[in-house]
Symmetry: C2
Subunit: 190 residues, 2 copies
C-alpha cells in the first residue's frame, strides 16, 4: 500500500474479530517497528507480544479501574461510556516498552531526556501504518498505571511501558476522526 | 512508494542541497503530518515552516551552543565532531510544536500527560516517511533549549517545541544505521 494512502487511511479500531494474526504478518509489523528512527540510533524499544488470555484479563481489569479513576477525576462523560473490551477481543496486544537509559544527548539538557520515549512512539506509528497496510485494525491504548502494567507484563523496574497496541482484524467500521485543516495548523517564517 | 519500503528505506540526512522544496510537496508532507493519530483526536500539533535565513542563523547559533554544552556535560567524543551546519543548508526547517493542554485523559494519571507530545511524534514519523516517499531527505533534530527556541520562533509560553525537522534534497548518501535483530527486541507472553 502507498505510504500516503496508509497515513490517510489508518483509523483507530474499537472492535476486533478473534481471528488470529498470521505469524509472518506479525513479524513484518515488528520489523517495521524496529526501523523507526531514534536518537543516536539507540533503538530504545522492546516489544512484548501478548496473546495469553490470562494476561489480557489482567490488562482489562487494570484498564477498567483506571478508566473509572479517570472519569472520577476528569468528569469527562465520554469516559463513563468508553468500553475497553477491545483489550480482551484483540488477538494480539503489543506492548511497546522504552529504556530511559537509551535516551540521546538530550538527557544532558535540563528537563529533557524524553528521546527514548519519542523513538518508541516513532516505532508505534510504524506499527499502526504497517498493520493498516496488511489489512489489520489497530488501537493505541494508554489507560493504565505504569507500575501496574510493569507487574502484569513482568517488565523490569527501570523500563517505561509507553503504550499497548491492540492488533487484529477489524470487526466494525472505525470511528471517523476528521482533521483540522492544515492551514489552521501552520505558520510560515519566510 | 510502498509503506514498508518507506519505513525501511528512510535514513537520516546530514547534508542538504539548497534546492527549494516544491510548494505542493511541502503541502503533501504537512497534510500527512495532520493525519497522525492523537489521544481523543485532539490534534495537539502546530507546525512552523522556517525558510528565513535569519532565523536559520539563530537556530544554528543555539544548536552550536547546546552542542558545546552537551559535549562538556557528557564527554561524548562524537558530539565534539558533530557538525550542525545542516540547519543552515536545509531549505526548510519544520518546527513541530505541541500543546500540553491537548493531552488526553492520561493527564489525570500521576506522572503522565505526555500524550500531546506523543501525538506530535506520530506526526513527525509521518513527516519523515512522506518526505522520503517524495525523494526528500530529512533530519530529526532536538539539540536546542526549549526556552531559547520559543524565543527564536515566537512560540507562546505554554506550548512545547518538540523537534525541528530539516527537509530538503539530500546532497550526500545518508549514514548507515543498522538495526538490532527483531528477535533480540521481542518477548512473547502466550
Amino acid at each position: 500500500m502507498d505510504v500516503f494512502e496508509a497515513i490517510k487511511g489508518r483509523r483507530s479500531c474499537r472492535k476486533f474479530s478473534p481471528e488470529p494474526i498470521a505469524e509472518d504478518e506479525l513479524n513484518l509489523i515488528l520489523e517495521a517497528a524496529t526501523w523507526a528512527p531514534s536518537a543516536a540510533n539507540n533503538q530504545p524499544w522492546e516489544f512484548i507480544v501478548v496473546s495469553s488470555g490470562d494476561i489480557k484479563q489482567k490488562i482489562f481489569r487494570e484498564a477498567q479501574e483506571r478508566k473509572q479513576e479517570l472519569f472520577e477525576k476528569s468528569k469527562w462523560k465520554w469516559l463513563d461510556r468508553y468500553q475497553v473490551g477491545f483489550v480482551l477481543e484483540a488477538p494480539i496486544i503489543l506492548a511497546v516498552v522504552g529504556d530511559p537509559k537509551k535516551a540521546g544527548a538530550d538527557q544532558f539538557l535540563e528537563g529533557r531526556g524524553e528521546s527514548y520515549a519519542h523513538g518508541c512512539v516513532a516505532a508505534i506509528q510504524n506499527i499502526l501504518l504497517s498493520a493498516h497496510a496488511l489489512g489489520l485494525g489497530s488501537l493505541w491504548f494508554t489507560v493504565f498505571d505504569k507500575r501496574a502494567l510493569r507487574e502484569i507484563l513482568k517488565i523490569e523496574e527501570g523500563k517505561d511501558p509507553i503504550a499497548l497496541i491492540c492488533l487484529g482484524k477489524a470487526a466494525a467500521d472505525p470511528l471517523k476522526t476528521p482533521r483540522v485543516a492544515v492551514k489552521d495548523k501552520v505558520r510560515y517564517l519566510k
